[in-house]
């Protein structure tokens, strides 16, 4: 009887976890990530440490798919790979606490904006050839560049300010907690 109750509680927790995975994966999908990547990230985010075998059982994806997605997440810096102490193979750990992962993602976005900025300069140089200004499609590229040349620096400045505000509010909270 007691074990039946435990099984039903475990089932309840499992369903809660699945719902949570659905919510987190939806955020990933809306960022433009693939459904598979989004689902694996969600499990890593919740469990914080996973193996390829466990992810295969949880998601139903093949080991090949799980391995490819994990490699991508390692490159992104979302997970780090470690030798397993208890079994053969590797364990994959969330790279930091969920809060740290979020802050890192903001920092990565700033890096992304900076790369865009450098790339746009190269495009600008190519497009500046006088012979191109009358060519078909020039005005479309020109409009894109003109808008990006305003938006990207604006974003860089706003995000910088945004991060400072987050830092200040965190310090205020720590200060208040210490009083």
């Amino acid at each position: 009887m007691k074990s039946n109750k435990k099984a039903s509680s475990e089932e309840r927790l499992r369903r809660v976890e699945q719902k949570l995975v659905e919510i987190i994966a939806n955020f990933g999908y809306l960022k433009g990530r693939s459904a598979k990547t989004s689902e694996v990230i969600a499990y890593v985010y919740i469990r914080q440490e996973v193996t390829q075998q466990l992810l295969r059982e949880l998601t139903g994806y093949s080991l090949g798919t799980v391995s490819t997605v994990l490699q991508g997440l390692e490159k992104l810096g979302v997970v780090s790979k470690h030798s397993s102490q208890n079994e053969r193979g590797y364990v994959y750990r969330l790279a930091g606490t969920p809060s740290q992962v979020l802050s890192q993602s903001m920092a990565d976005f700033q890096g992304y904006l900076s790369e865009i900025s450098g790339f746009l300069e190269q495009v600008e140089a190519k497009l500046s050839k006088p012979s191109l200004s009358k060519k078909q499609g020039y005005s479309s590229l020109r409009r894109f560049l003109d808008e990006m040349n305003v938006l990207i620096p604006a974003y860089q400045q706003v995000l910088q300010k945004f991060q400072t505000m987050r830092l200040d509010s965190r310090q205020e909270r720590v200060g208040a907690a210490n009083e």
Binding site: L13, V16, Y112, L132, Q136, F144, L151, Q157
Partner: protein
């Protein structure tokens, strides 16, 4: 319609470099699917495209294009309209997605729904606390629910702040020019 053949070869070459850049870099920095990123970049430049245009521009299969376009509509990056007198849809990007903070945060509606669902999950966990709190994994699930609830509730405020600041910087830059 802005089909691939209309662009001059030299301009087309630059456009392809832009598409390649975004496909690679967005994937590297944000984990976005390369096909989704590449399609986005073509919308940055051309603004209005059909699925056939996208196939001609990228060489991807009809299935891959259809899936990626559906995702872009779900992401609120583009809108879908029927071309009058035809059975063909045209997809439009009204403004560059960089224009709004919802580009990297989520839409208000999604946040609202997720917040409601997370709140229900937390209430359910609290109501059955005696049964589940000793189980393996409970603490991690509970911590993630609490953390997400906290994060999501601060997002609309930060989104409004960013929007306001962004408008200010854009206005200043345009005045300087």
């Amino acid at each position: 319609m802005n089909s691939a053949i209309e662009f001059d070869p030299e301009i087309r070459q630059i456009e392809q470099e832009i598409a390649k850049f975004f496909a690679e870099k967005a994937s590297e920095y944000t984990g976005r699917h390369p096909i989704v990123s590449m399609l986005m970049s073509y919308f940055y430049v051309r603004r209005s495209l059909t699925q056939r245009d996208l196939r001609n521009l990228t060489g991807f299969s009809a299935g891959a294009i259809s899936k990626a376009v559906r995702q872009l509509v779900d992401m609120n990056m583009i809108t879908r309209e029927m071309i009058p007198g035809t059975h063909t849809h045209i997809y439009k990007m009204e403004t560059l997605p960089f224009r709004s903070p919802s580009y990297f945060l989520q839409t208000e509606k999604t946040l609202e729904t997720s917040h409601k669902e997370l709140k229900e999950i937390k209430e359910s966990l609290d109501a059955h606390s005696d049964e589940v709190r000793g189980l393996e994994g409970y603490k991690k699930v509970y911590a993630v629910v609490t953390h997400l609830l906290e994060q999501i509730s601060t997002v609309p405020m930060f989104m409004a702040l960013i929007e306001e600041e962004l408008d200010k910087f854009i206005k200043q830059t345009k005045e300087k020019r």
